[in-house]
Amino acid sequence: MVVSRLQYIRRRLLLAVPIIFFIIVLNFLLIQIAPGDAADVLAGEAGSATPEYMDQLRRKFGLDQPIYVQLLTYVSNVATFDLGFSFRHNKPVSELILSRLGPTLLLMVPVLLISVSMGILLGAIAARYLNRWQDKTISTVVVLTYATPVFWAGLMLIVLFSVKLGWFPTSGMEKIAAFHTGIARIIDIAHHMVLPVITLTLFYIALYTRLMRASVIEQNTMDYVTTARSKGLGEKRVLWGHILRNACLPVLTMAGIQAGALLGGAVVVETVFSWPGLGLLAYESLFARDLNLLLGIFFISACLVVLVNLAVDLLYASLDPRIELK
């Protein structure tokens, strides 16, 4: 089983190659569409690069060469994670992105875990008590939350909990001036994390709750559930032992699909809370018109999504024996 799983991972990664390749080509196309010389784009912020660097760039990317050579050069650069240089931050882009990846993951992972688990739980409860007060309450809250723009939710949470109540800080990842270390630092970061995580989680809890509720209702009509009841299983056991596992599968699939959306959500949430992650970096590069940096973030995000999808697929395959791993 372990061997076949490794084989499976390898084959899935191979499948991911065309996707990554396509994204790199897409980036290249976007560079061509963008106004100005490709070198202007690749140099980053307008006017921040020295003329020598621009020449170097032109030679490196072979901008005097035919277009397919340029494409090849670009692809090989990006594939080796040479994403250019950022003058404003005075770092290679790949290093810059890596340094900001951590804070973003710090938000994304809890959001993913909490939203999926809460969604499954609430959806199951809503379906279990169908049309009773538990279901009606959960469904109403879901309808409202599902329609709430994420960035606005963040702003409103700040107004209520930071400005009016003062329970949580309004922005940032930690109190830099305090120079916390060790446990104190962890607690400080956790304190700053609360509002951004809640903001992003709200929408996704709503999404997964709806999906889970519908999924449980559908599973309830399935033949194997009738069989389970005919064996004398109580409602609780039917739900937990039989329905739940089957009902979770579509939610899991959706979670994989939503990986990309989650990163998009990071942009607005990090912007609202000034959280120093990839999302805020994207916003800053937008402001600074640094297309090269933006493209780099886009590429890395896409790679992340591919990895998350692989993880979700593995998880799905381990839960559903009908999927053959070979």
């Binding site: 194997y224 009841r229 064996k231 004398g232 697929d313 024996p321 009908r322 053959e324």
Partner: protein, 544 residues
């Protein structure tokens, strides 16, 4: 002897938005230990609802008993608490269902689902649970019980799954087993094995069995007593021998009369000089199915291997086989719904497979199909009149002429003129098949292929539609290729029969010959597996 079950004046209501007020009305009967009671009825008779009610299982809270009692050893099931019901289900009374694939949880192993019954009812026996499960799995004659224990439902065949279900139901030796059409979804040979198994287990454990079915052949095979249901009412109940030889109620008589006889119909005289309408030479088709989460593994399935045969004008050839035999693929290849890999198909002397584009389009009218599923063979949004005139108009016929022909055809198939303005959902299954036949005939095809055209119909409707096909065939001298899995149906309408298995022709000959002296062991096996065969042979011979 005291009855295990005593059902008194039972009436079960249906929700107000249903098409009927009650599922079953004023049901009275008894069930004793050590007997098999078959409840027979067509669709809508209420037999399934009744079966589940015996366990207190109702599909929703809107379906409930408004009158009567279901006494299980003197206690009324209908007034039992949820807890009490749970203790008898799977324990005192167990149930097996029609579709073993969907009736088993796809995510749990067979073993886990069997052992669950012990965990719930006899937690003190948990240590021996594995042993008991292996024992019962071998009792139902499953090879390698240990392997099956750890297997998932999708890894087993249909017959194996049904055996596993039976094992799961009988592990605690319940006093009563309710079987809801357990063999309907199985091949006839598998069905024969499962029926034998059920009889064997019943003998061993002296269980009371309630066996729901629509097939009188199955009834003749295993029933001790028979109860006939029509539209929610129990119209007749008697010992098997009595009911089968001298039915009292008109509905019973109608049902028995509609069961296709195992004796072939009288052979027709066919003109020897007629043209060859269909000639198939060395037809082959291989399906490559790809598996796995990213479709890497390929499995080859030989659907057709070197099939050759001929069909003369006016002749009716039956193609008989079980699932996977290739009979459906054959029909699809001849109609060019699927492209064969190799071989030739000659229709009226023309190489059909070579036709392309416009000439193919024009030539297609010579081969028409009547399909199996009356609920998916008509466009739900299209009026019946349009369904029938669409073909002729497409081929350039004048609209007025086509409409006239449509009315003629409606009359031929026994439908009212006003049907032309109605939508498919307003018609019953049998009526929809008639519409399908009219549609096929509208193009005046030289070859008509009936692909399991009566398999999805209730037995009485089946007899009517079969009769209609026969009449039309006789009147218009149609050449008919009749695909079916049911040898009995083939015996009624076919001049010759071709038996297929795993993509190959096992035997080919005149119907009478095939039935009276089958040569190939597979044919003999198929004939031997026909349920209630002994009864029908005896009965037909007596009445003749």
């Amino acid at each position: 002897m005291q009855p295990l079950y005593k059902i008194k004046d039972l009436t079960i209501d249906l929700p107000t938005w249903g098409d009927r007020k009650t599922a079953v009305t004023d049901i009275n009967f008894e069930l004793y230990l050590d007997e098999i009671l078959c409840i027979v009825g067509e669709s809508g008779s209420g037999k399934s609802v009744l079966a589940r009610a015996l366990m207190g299982l109702f599909p929703s809270k809107h379906v409930c008993a408004s009158k009567g009692e279901i006494l299980l050893d003197g206690e009324d099931v209908l007034s039992m608490s949820a807890d009490k019901l749970r203790t008898i289900r799977g324990n005192k009374v167990a149930m097996i269902f029609q579709e073993p694939m969907t009736a088993l949880n796809p995510l749990l192993t067979i073993g886990k689902q069997i052992v669950e019954v012990i965990e719930v009812h006899r937690p003190e026996m948990q240590k021996q649970a594995f042993q008991k499960a292996i024992q019962i799995l071998s009792d139902v004659h499953l090879p390698n019980p240990e392997q099956i224990f750890h297997a998932y439902p999708h890894q087993l065949s249909g017959g194996q799954r049904q055996r596993a279900m039976i094992a799961m139901a009988l592990i605690l030796e319940p006093q009563c087993l309710i079987a809801d059409e357990p063999t309907t979804a199985l091949d006839v040979t598998t069905q024969a094995q499962i029926l034998k198994l059920i009889k064997e287990l019943q003998n061993k454990h002296h269980t009371a069995i309630v066996f729901i079915t629509h097939d009188f052949g199955v009834v003749a095979e295993i029933a001790d007593r028979i109860a006939v249901m029509e539209s929610g009412k129990l119209v007749e109940i008697n010992y098997a021998k009595n009911l089968l030889t001298s039915p009292q109620h008109p509905y019973t008589k109608k049902l028995l009369g509609a069961v296709p006889s195992i004796l072939p119909a009288k052979s027709r005289a066919l003109s020897s000089s007629s043209q060859t309408v269909l000639a198939v030479r060395n037809l082959s088709k291989v399906f490559n199915t790809r598996h796995g989460i990213f479709k890497g593994v390929t499995r080859e399935v030989r659907a057709l291997s070197q099939i050759s045969f001929e069909l003369k004008e006016g002749e009716t050839l039956g193609v008989v086989g079980e699932s996977g035999s290739g009979k459906s693929t054959l029909a699809k290849c001849i109609a060019r719904l699927v492209d064969a890999d190799d071989g030739k198909i000659f229709i009226l002397g023309e190489d059909f497979l070579k036709a392309k584009g416009e000439s193919l389009r024009k030539f297609r009218r010579n081969v028409q199909l009547v399909f199996q599923d009356p609920y998916s063979s008509l466009d739900p949004r299209q009026k019946v009149g349009s369904i029938i005139t669409e073909g002729p108009i497409l081929h350039g016929e004048n609209r007025e002429v086509a409409i006239q022909r449509m009315f003629e055809l409606l009359q031929i198939v026994g439908l009212d003129k006003k049907s032309a303005d109605r939508l498919p959902h307003e018609f019953s299954g049998g009526q929809r098949q008639r519409i399908g036949i009219a549609r096929a005939l509208a193009l005046r095809p030289r070859l008509l292929i009936a692909d399991e055209a009566v398999s999805a119909l209730d037995v009485s409707v089946q007899a009517q539609v079969l009769g209609l096909l026969k009449d039309i065939r006789d009147e218009f001298n149609l050449t008919l290729l009749f695909i079916t899995h049911d040898l009995r149906v083939a015996a009624q309408i076919c001049d010759s029969v071709m038996v297929m298995s795993k993509g190959e022709i096992m035997e080919y000959g005149a119907t009478k010959t095939i039935f009276e002296s089958p040569q190939h062991p597979y044919t003999q096996q198929l004939l031997g597996a026909i349920p209630g065969r002994a009864y029908w042979l005896e009965h037909q011979l007596v009445t003749q």
